[in-house]
Amino acid sequence: MNGRSGAGGNDAPRANAVTVVSYLLGGLAFWGGLGWLADRMLGFATLFLPIGMLLGLAGGIYLIIAQYVRS
């Protein structure tokens, strides 16, 4: 896995932009989705949706940092 140049000419290990975006989207979609479901079931208008989205965003950013920035 050494010296691979990605689609955008990015030489950082495995840092392909697609994965980064999919972490962010996945985080927002999963935790935001759970929050939305919780809102629906518990009868809130919007309470858990933003909480879930923030949580998912934090998780996605954490994953990016843990895998691409720190290593």
């Binding site: 140049s5 392909n16 999919s22």
Partner: protein
């Protein structure tokens, strides 16, 4: 082609003369997404299927083009390559050096035939968008890139399971290494969604969307050029000359974007196999 453009430019309106400076007050009808839903020639009436459409014909033609390419380049293969054979060898060694070796190392050589096939097949399918008379990139229908991406996705799992065993493969894909245990409940679902749903989805949508948008753009240029060409307008020769000038600009745009689109077609086929190789390389490498 002109017949195609005529129907496109006239679509929707009941205009006898779908041109600029007409006296019926007809406006320009831009080509829409119905370009990508050709009327089926044979309809089986099955749910969620479109029957046999132009896509099937163009797909068969692109497969024949690829078969023909290999037939004519490698029919009389020799150790010292002829000119035709060296074209094929150039392609194979380009993909080996630029794609499989750089992403998977020597172990990637066993995926080289797959990647070369995929590249040429996708490129041929894209290319059908600018072949006069066909003018329909097969990959502008989401079904085709989706099947290819699904195939790569299944292969990616198979390679991972075969190299590391099912447990290790899924663990490597779901549990990021070097992460404290308390944060795992937060990030494991994100990893799962990202690796098993978003990734194959983006893999196929990337190819589909670029070909879809590019083809629509070309169609708009062609239809606009046709719409604006009205030298014999009843509103006088001056406006007739203006319309020819407008039309010329649209024609130049059409030609420039056709060249650009040709470049995009090659790049998208390349990106598709590059990503496939990166995924496969990651599956072989195991835990990250």
């Amino acid at each position: 082609m002109s017949a195609d453009v005529r129907t496109v430019a006239a679509a929707g309106g009941d205009c006898p003369e779908p041109h600029i400076f007409n006296q019926q007050g007809c406006g320009f009808e831009a080509p829409g997404t119905d370009l990508f839903f050709p009327a089926p020639w044979i309809d089986f009436g099955l749910p969620l299927s479109s029957g046999i459409t132009k896509y099937a014909l163009v797909l068969v033609i692109s497969a024949l083009v690829v078969i023909g390419f290999w037939y004519f380049t490698t029919r009389k293969a020799t150790v010292v390559p002829s000119r035709r054979q060296s074209v094929a060898e150039l392609l194979v060694s380009f993909i080996r050096d630029q794609v499989t070796r750089t992403t998977m190392g020597k172990a990637g050589d066993k995926f080289l035939p797959l990647m070369v096939t995929l590249f040429l097949f996708i490129f041929a399918m894209n290319l059908m968008g600018i072949i006069p008379g066909l003018q329909l990139p097969v990959t502008s229908n989401l079904a085709f890139p989706a099947v290819l991406a699904l195939f790569v996705f299944v292969l990616w799992n198979a390679v991972g399971i075969r190299t590391h065993g099912a447990g290790a493969h899924f663990k490597a894909r779901l549990v990021p290494s070097g992460v404290p245990a308390w944060i795992l409940p937060l990030v494991v679902p994100i990893e799962a969604l990202s690796n098993f749903i978003i990734r194959p989805l983006t893999h196929s949508v990337r190819l589909f969307a670029t070909m879809f948008a590019g083809h629509l753009l070309l169609a708009v240029f062609a239809a606009a050029g046709f719409y604006m060409f009205n030298p014999t307008t009843a509103m006088g020769p001056l406006l007739g000359a203006v319309s020819v000038g407008y039309s010329g600009i649209a024609l130049i745009g059409f030609l420039l974007f056709t060249v650009f689109e040709l470049f995009i077609m090659a790049v998208q086929a390349y990106v598709f196999i590059l990503l496939s190789s990166i995924y496969l390389g990651e599956a072989m490498e195991g835990a990250h």
